[in-house]
């Protein structure tokens, strides 16, 4: 699976041809992209407007790489109700929380900035109680409130080479393309962490602790996540990858 993911990444991030750009529609987005560059270079935090653009783009990639979304209104409503209930007591209760189920048999969950939480059908089926579902969603909510994905680019060099390019004013096509390319590279950096490298173990343990605390505060069983992970450990390795980019199950269970 990892090999497959690597291959997908390699193919997926070939720079897009400029012929595909719709310059007429770009002006709105470019303000934000230019600003993202300024933010990153100045070591300032990425603000809400930039976070929306980054979050949307990362969510698009997650969906694209995991078989699309399950278009089941009942399931989607359930995950949104449980997810929004848990997120309500998070550090960002008023954020734009959206929860969906990916049409993949793998067992995994992902989050993207600006409140996107997406879990696979494999994990949704396994989390057969609200306690278990709340625990899984709580973990991903914690990744967002702790800005784990955004810290990848905040710590790094997101758009560092193209700051303060006044492309909108100049209308310079090459500058526009350079900005877009750098933006895409920033998204790639996040995606690479989500699908290939994974967050570092301490970040995952932090999300486990925070997610457990959130679920408990909301009134769900404190051992929800531990039970899910234990069930997975007992189930053992199967044809589908299990939390392939997370620390070993045994260690996560031990720390919960």
């Amino acid at each position: 699976m990892k090999t497959l993911l690597l291959a997908t990444l390699a193919l997926g991030f070939v720079p897009a041809a400029s012929a595909q750009f719709n310059f007429g529609k770009l002006s709105q987005g470019l303000d934000t992209l230019k600003d993202v560059g300024k933010v990153a270079k100045g070591a300032a935090k990425i603000g809400p407007e930039e976070e929306k653009v980054i979050g949307d783009s990362v969510a698009l990639e997650i969906i694209s790489r995991n078989g699309g979304l399950v278009h089941d209104e009942e399931i989607t409503r359930r995950v949104n109700l449980v997810g929004r209930a848990v997120a309500r007591y998070s550090a960002r209760p008023d954020a734009a929380w959206r929860f969906g189920v990916l049409d993949s048999p793998a067992i995994n969950a992902f989050s993207a900035p600006d409140g996107y939480v997406l879990l696979t059908r494999g994990l949704y089926d396994l989390a057969d109680s609200d306690d278990a579902l709340a625990a899984v969603l709580g973990h991903e909510i914690a990744h967002i409130t702790k800005r784990h994905a955004l810290s990848i680019v905040e710590r790094g060099e997101f758009l560092s080479g193209v700051t303060n390019i006044a492309s909108k004013q100049s209308g310079n096509v090459q500058q526009v393309q350079a900005q877009l390319k750098q933006f895409d590279l920033g998204i790639e950096k996040i995606i690479s962490t989500l699908f290939e490298k994974g967050f570092d173990p301490q970040t995952e343990y932090e999300a486990d602790r925070e997610g457990r605390s959130l679920a408990t505060t909301t009134g769900y069983a404190p051992d929800g996540l531990k039970n899910v992970l234990t069930a997975l450990e007992k189930k053992g390795a199967g044809p589908q990858p299990i939390f392939s980019t997370h620390p070993p199950l045994k260690e996560r269970i031990k720390r919960l």
Partner: protein
């Protein structure tokens, strides 16, 4: 029929354990901060009690009393009860980007969650040739719009979660 003593004991221990989780972090005399766009302080430690005041994100509050999951808080003439999950012992970080907007700018989750895709992300989908993912995401945003803040409140009430535990 009265429940057996052992059941009462279990209930009591569970209540103590639940309260201990929160009280471990929040004790009388400490400071907490409102983290919602608007938080109602209530006249009693009950979710549907009348509101005595409203405070906004980041408002510093002193904890005067802890009763289970509820805290009686005050600040400069404002006081009332709040569910512990609605405040934080860490001051919310108001992150402002070059857009100058704070992170908690949206008044309700439902409004924010239902927003359309950003233009830049639509362009990104075009560049990356992932139109199907874009359609899926737009479907999800449409679904998110159908879950109102009132729906979540009703869900919490029915499931006896959050303030309704």
């Amino acid at each position: 029929m009265k429940p057996p003593l052992s059941r009462w004991l279990i209930i009591l221990l569970a209540a103590i354990a639940g309260a201990a989780v929160l009280e471990a972090a929040v004790v009388v005399g400490t400071t907490v901060y409102a983290k919602r766009f608007e938080t109602n302080l209530l006249t009693q430690p009950q979710p549907l009690a009348p509101s005595s005041a409203k405070v906004t994100t980041g408002r510093k509050l002193r904890v005067d009393e802890v009763r289970g999951n509820w805290l009686r808080v005050s600040d400069a003439g404002t006081s009332g009860w709040v569910f512990a999950g609605n405040v934080s012992d860490v001051k919310p970080v108001e992150i402002k980007g070059v857009d100058g907007l704070p992170i908690a700018a949206s008044k309700t989750t439902a409004t924010a969650a239902g927003r359309p895709l950003t233009q830049a992300a639509e362009d990104y989908a075009t560049r990356r040739n992932i139109g199907n993912a874009r359609s899926d995401l737009e479907w999800l945003l449409q679904q998110a719009r159908t879950v109102s803040d009132d729906d979540v409140q009703k869900f919490l009430q029915e499931q006896k979660k959050g303030e309704f535990q």
